[in-house]
């Protein structure tokens, strides 16, 4: 057992963006541990990074993702390459197969990590309200998936790597899931990415009948209205206004998060905003970790006051 194996993900248009962050993490770990780092790439997605090896994982049965197919292929690759650490990007696809793969090796995937320091793997608990350091048992193979944004793709050391084709022996009967082509629900009528200002509402709004409270603010600011997932799940606002990993990714000049706690799946959709404002009654809400300006208070008092002040300023 030696070295680091980074399992990348190939999306509809080449490598998934989190793949490069994971390769950067693998390179960093390789420098710290003084061990080689290699990457596994499915299909033909190009990858140019300084690595000791790139395994091109190829098989007709892997052209569409299935948990069973990917698990079997990577199980074989891990037996061959014998890495001490296996890293994944914490994508929806990785959530689907990596726990199964780790189980094949009698290990627990340390999922959604935000950093690693001196052998301690750090991840969030309670949707970001607390952090925890995890210690794998010494001498065992570590499986870990990396949270979006925890490592930076622009820190990736460019370069080349010797490539090796890895063609696992796969039996079609192994693949029990029969996937159909991916699709989008409907053409998006709302393009939030074009908005300069977004007012986004979360579960702090409590009831559908309270939505006008934030609508007023959006109107006063000339902003688009957006929401966290539970608001769209409840049908209080249409799905196309959802911001986050399952919804839209936005980067307006100003993003006002009202009654949103700041779970990672929401943050990935808006943390590129130029200025982030958070209005939340809980001073420990994780949203304050990314906010430039914060108002700690009851949104039902703060938001109407804000509407008045905006109107006053606009004259």
């Amino acid at each position: 057992m030696n070295g680091i194996l980074v399992v990348t993900e190939t999306g509809l248009n080449g490598l998934h963006k989190m793949s490069l962050e994971t390769v950067a993490a693998g390179q960093q770990l390789s420098r710290e541990l003084g061990q080689p780092v290699s990457a596994a790439v499915f299909l033909t997605a190009p990858l140019s990074a300084k690595l000791d090896r790139v395994y091109r994982v190829q098989h007709d049965l892997l052209s569409a993702y299935t948990a069973d197919g990917y698990t079997a292929a990577l199980e074989a690759l891990i037996h061959q390459a014998d890495p001490a650490v296996v890293l994944f990007p914490h994508t929806y696809q990785v959530r689907d197969f990596a726990p199964k793969l780790a189980t094949r090796f009698g290990q627990v995937l340390i999922s959604d990590i935000i950093g690693v320091h001196e052998g301690k793997w750090r991840r969030q608990l309670f949707q970001g309200k607390l952090n925890a350091d995890f210690l794998p048992q010494p001498g065992t193979r570590v499986f870990a998936s990396i949270q979006a944004g925890a490592f930076r793709a622009d820190q990736l050391e460019a370069g080349a790597a010797p490539e090796e084709i890895f063609s696992p022996a796969l039996d079609p009967s192994l693949l029990r899931q029969k996937p159909e082509p991916p699709f989008r629900e409907s053409a998006r009528a709302v393009d939030l990415s074009a908005a300069d200002v977004i007012v986004s509402v979360g579960r702090g709004i409590k009831e559908q009948d309270n939505i006008p409270v934030v609508e007023e603010l959006a109107k006063a600011l000339g902003a688009e209205l957006a929401a966290s997932r539970p608001i769209c799940d409840n049908g209080w606002l249409p799905m196309e206004r959802q911001v986050g990993s399952s919804g839209q990714t936005v980067a307006p000049k100003v993003y006002v998060a009202v009654g949103i706690s700041g779970a990672i799946q929401h943050l990935v959709g808006m943390k590129g905003s130029k200025t982030i404002v958070a209005i939340n009654k809980d001073p420990n809400a994780p949203i304050f970790e990314v906010a430039d300006y914060g108002i700690i208070g009851d949104l039902f008092e703060v938001v109407p006051a804000l509407v008045d002040e905006v109107k006053k300023a606009r004259g």
Binding site: L109, F126, Y293, D298
Partner: protein, 256 residues
């Protein structure tokens, strides 16, 4: 159709959390607990499948004595019976060991379908269901937003990233991890609450199932996250704070 729903009891969502003196978990003494939200959706999906296709819904829950209140709630909503694996110190079990406990208990029932939430609101590992599937030799799919019976198998809608979805078929028995928002949660009726009192709850321990505690991964410590960014808190009365924010929006962000 015999459906098992694995559900977990977690601290209520808006809880103020404090680190326990051990530094390894939270202080649970003043907290209230509830059914983990995605698990509540898994339960609802099971109840709807039963209503459509007939069968039985069995709740499977590992947790201390207090978890019985969540089990009762699930029975009151319409589950037929429950298995409570009563353990005070589940901290000694890592995800794999706990999934072994759950898988062992589930296997004795020979279910057609096992449902669970896609992740827990406390640990958030998002793995228990997938690991159970592997241990039980079942096909699985995760982040599910729709479940249909199709012939002798299932056709399910997987949520992908950025607003994409995908249907996938698979044979039964199978395991699915359910995403919040897949359906509309029901409330327990008074009648349901009354009926729940006479429903069976089988109590077992992990030892009864022959699964010893095990941790390949242990918690070294938990702590409040450090602030990454200097948030400027605008204080004062709501009106004062609002006025300060408008200044910032006008003169710094320049959007007013």
């Amino acid at each position: 159709m015999k459906i098992i729903v694995a559900l977990k009891q977690v601290p209520a969502r808006d809880s103020q959390l404090k680190v326990a003196p051990s530094g390894k978990w939270i202080d649970e003494s003043d907290l209230t607990f509830e059914i983990n939200e995605p698990d509540a959706y898994a339960l609802e999906e099971a109840l709807q499948l039963k209503e459509k296709h007939g069968g039985e819904v069995i709740v499977l829950c590992a947790g201390p004595e207090r978890a019985a209140s969540s089990i009762r709630e699930a029975l009151a909503k319409g589950a037929d019976r429950a298995i409570h694996i009563e353990e005070d110190d589940l901290g000694a079990y890592d995800t794999l060991a706990l999934a072994r406990v759950l898988a062992k208990a589930a296997e004795t029932e020979k279910p057609d379908l096992v449902l669970t939430g896609l992740q827990s609101d406390d640990l958030g590992s998002g793995q228990t269901g997938v690991v159970m599937a592997e241990l039980m030799g079942l096909p699985h799919a995760t982040i599910i937003m729709q479940v249909e019976l199709a012939g002798a198998g299932l056709r399910v809608k997987r949520e992908l990233e950025d607003g994409w979805f995908q249907f996938a078929g698979m044979p039964l028995p199978a395991l699915l991890t359910i995403q919040s928002g897949i359906n509309k949660l029901r409330y327990a009726t008074l009648m349901g609450i009354k009926k729940a009192k006479s429903k069976e709850i089988r109590r077992l321990t992990a030892a009864d199932l022959g699964v010893p505690p095990r941790s390949t991964v242990t918690v070294a410590g938990i702590f409040a996250p450090p602030r990454m960014k200097q948030t400027q808190i605008l204080d004062g009365s709501p009106r004062e704070a609002a006025a300060k924010l408008v200044e910032k929006l006008k003169f710094e962000a320049r959007v007013i």
